[in-house]
Amino acid sequence: MLDGNSFLVVFLILFPLLPALLLLMLRAEKAVKIVVNISIAVMSMAAITVAVIFVGGITDFISLSHHLDMLITLGDIIIALVFMYLARNHRSMRYWIPLLVIPQYSAVIFFELTGKIPESSSTFFIDNLSIIMVLIIAIVGGLISIYTPGYMKKYHEEHPEIKDRRHIFISAVFLFFFAMFGIVLSNQLTWIYFFWEITTLCSFIMIGYSQKEEAVRNSFRALWMLLLGGAGFAAAIIYASLYCDTVEVTKLTAAGKTAALIPAVLICFAGFNKAAQFPFSSWLLGAMVAPTPSSALLHSSTMVKAGVYICIRFSPAIHNTACGTFLAFIGAISFFAASAMAISQSDGKRVLAYSTIANLGLIVLCAGVGSYLALWSAILLIIFHALAKALMFCSVGIVEQQCGSRNIEDMHGLISRMPFVSIMMIVGISGMFLAPFGMLISKWSVLEALANNNPILPIAVILGSSLTLFFWSKWMGTLVAVNEDKTDIEKGIGKSIWFPLFSLSALTIIVCAFFPLIGAVLIEPMYGPDFTVMGRGHIIMVTIMMSMVMFLPVGFLINWRNLIHVTPYLGGTNVSDPNRFKGSLKEEEWTLRNYYFENYFGEKKLLKISNIAAILITLAFLTIGWFL
């Protein structure tokens, strides 16, 4: 039977179902808030306890009764039917979705029912990578779900035309946690596949939330693309049960290259499909129509992170093969092209979306390279990205609600109108690209990891990271510009919004400050006792920079006495309003706009090329394994 520790793991996975069910029935705002807060408290406590108990260099296994596999089969049947039911009324999708669903599900369900799936010795397993994922899902995801009720209330006040289906939305959030815990803890591919498709379903519900035409179209696009990835997963299950004699993740990844290459390739295909790499990037961009909390969830702690998690998990099986190289190239193309296209965007959420694709590209690249140092950077990237991206999305969401726009141009001088939110956004942006914050540390280690490889990958990373520098700083500059409009529009933001924002900013800073510790405790033990990344010199350097970055901003709070305030030079006579000046002919007004460089980085220019390149590489990635 189960001992206490194993019970806790099972509890962690199953617990989110309870609030999911409760919230489906509750409508009263107060009650919803209470249920959400208590559930998140319980969930994150459970996650932290699990982390404390299981942390270490070894993998722990938990076995449950084999009869539970029947439940998974039943679940697969239900989900398959749900997918087809959802597509029943849609003009083109009513054929296309079943075409994707029926083959993969009938094959998997047939195998499950006829007992062709090899029996597994364990149901769940937990190692440090799972622990990191569990913490991210529970804490970052938890903070986002605390943010959700307050945001949705205002969302419906602003959009009275949208039918109020909040209960479904918040319930889907918790269903998401259930599925994510399942993905990162299950040891059998059949189980992961079941949870995998639940996340697809949840994102479908969230993207199509408003039921507007665009939302419905995008939700179906996401559905069919993700089902295509799911097909890769199903194929991996079939292949693994026929030829590898096991569907256990731990056995497959330990089996060595030749044995598990094909299933690993298929699963990585499903992984980078879910992580919205080119050519599948459009589902994630389309997901922007959904209310902001769902974007925050999809981009930071759930969904796309499941994709990169599975790539990292199966990276040892494709390490040092041509497949690994091709996977790295898919990541490199996504990193470079998405960073470039982010420059041409002015919609804050679209910039964030492209930057997500770019960062996930970097993680997929690391998974493809597969050396210990590369995996170390990949895992750190996951952590930093989850925190900073959640913070950015939550902030942009609240800016959109308070000023009615999420266009970066409209955030000009936001620091004087929404000081706290702007500072948090600056923390988030710094976390995304500035030294010595997390992302840059990871980029540094990526470059070190790539140092012995073919120079094409490092060049792609170098060019891509220069591009990220441009669009992030341009955004940050727009925020810090000081203009005359000083109306405070931060009033009316509720506690349930401030709490997650403050916590996420604090966590972003804390994790950055203590990342050598995180590396030493959580990541490095997985790769053997001799594996350390940060030398003493590095730690000294990072500490010096960190303390400078932490303490220097205090100077901004001081009101320096020796300054004499003047108005900016405008090349003419200034008039009372600093946005106007007297030129040689008449009084004129000026406004400022950022550079976008459409002619180099526009979607029109780059999207097609990068998709075609990515499709070719994906085809090569999928086929070459059969010849090795």
Binding site: P436, Y569, W590
Partner: protein
């Protein structure tokens, strides 16, 4: 320990002194090229002292503080290179990242000013950073391929002249140096002359002590970047010094013979140079490694 303290003191005295001298030489040499006599070599120091004594005009209370941060990070940046022996593994990639961080503070200062000239200057400076950054990182990468280490001390004490394995990257680096020095043809963000379309661009709103901070920080930056030039020739220090001075002279010559490039031309020229000189050099090194085993 005492030796370390001496190093630190030497760095703090000589880095700005050298930077200022280079700036002074720049003015004299430029003047001679244009058929003028020019100011004394120490003019930049006189200028800075004068600026420090002036009233501190500012457009908002944050503006000049960004410059303080810029200066501090520029100082740290030079320290990373010149005091590398104090940190027992100082990474050349970190040096480049700190350079970026310092420049970001400068750009933020310009953004915050609320003047259109300053804003456009900031945007252009950012664009120039985007243009120059890849080659700087490729340089670090080239050092690794030639010495098997990112450690500044190991790169410095390499047993062969790195220039011989990295000629393409060296030329590319000199190219990027003109961008980083904000010299013509790449003086888009701000120029030494206030009669351009952007007035003084990025630095339009800096005056008095704030402008002095900008000048001093720029000295540190120049010395840091010339230090990297020296690293290419570190195995024979005398030659290294001569080449470093010649490189600086070359940037002055280019400054005086070229008209300002447009933004798009800057980007195209610089990235093509980066890919051909930097990328090509890395590829050649990689293939040589494959051939030699």
């Amino acid at each position: 320990m005492t030796l370390n303290i001496i190093f630190v003191i030497l760095y703090f005295i000589f880095a700005p002194l050298l930077g200022g001298l280079f700036a002074g030489l720049d003015r004299v040499v430029s003047a001679r090229m244009q058929g003028r006599v020019g100011p004394p070599v120490f003019q930049p120091f006189y200028d800075v002292f004068k600026l420090l004594g002036k009233q501190n005009f500012t457009v908002n209370r944050f503006h000049s503080y960004y410059l303080v941060c810029y200066l501090l990070f520029a100082v740290l940046n030079g320290a990373q290179l010149y005091l590398a022996c104090l940190f027992n593994a100082d990474d050349i990639l970190f040096v480049i990242f700190t350079l970026t961080l310092a420049d970001i503070f400068l750009v933020m200062a310009a953004y915050s000013a609320g003047s259109p000239y300053s804003f456009i200057g900031a945007e252009r400076e950012l664009f120039q950073m985007l243009v120059a950054e890849p080659l700087l990182l490729i340089t670090a990468f080239g050092f690794y391929m030639a010495t098997k280490s990112f450690d500044v001390v190991k790169i410095y004490s390499a047993d062969h002249m790195l220039f011989l394995s990295l000629p393409g990257i060296f030329i590319g680096f000199v190219f990027v140096l003109t961008i980083k020095f904000r010299k013509s043809p790449f003086d888009l963000a701000t120029s030494h002359h206030a009669h351009q379309e952007l007035v003084k661009g990025l630095t339009t709103e800096f005056s008095g002590p704030t402008l002095a901070l900008f000048e001093i920080a720029h000295w540190f930056e120049v010395v840091m970047l010339l230090g990297i030039v020296f690293l290419f020739f570190a195995s024979s220090p005398l030659l290294g010094l001569i080449i470093t001075v010649l490189t600086y002279f070359a940037t002055i010559l280019i400054d005086n013979t070229y008209a300002r490039f447009k933004l798009h031309l800057t980007f195209e020229v610089a990235w093509i140079a980066t890919l051909i000189l930097g990328g090509g050099n890395l590829m050649v090194l990689y293939f040589l490694k494959l051939v030699n085993g």
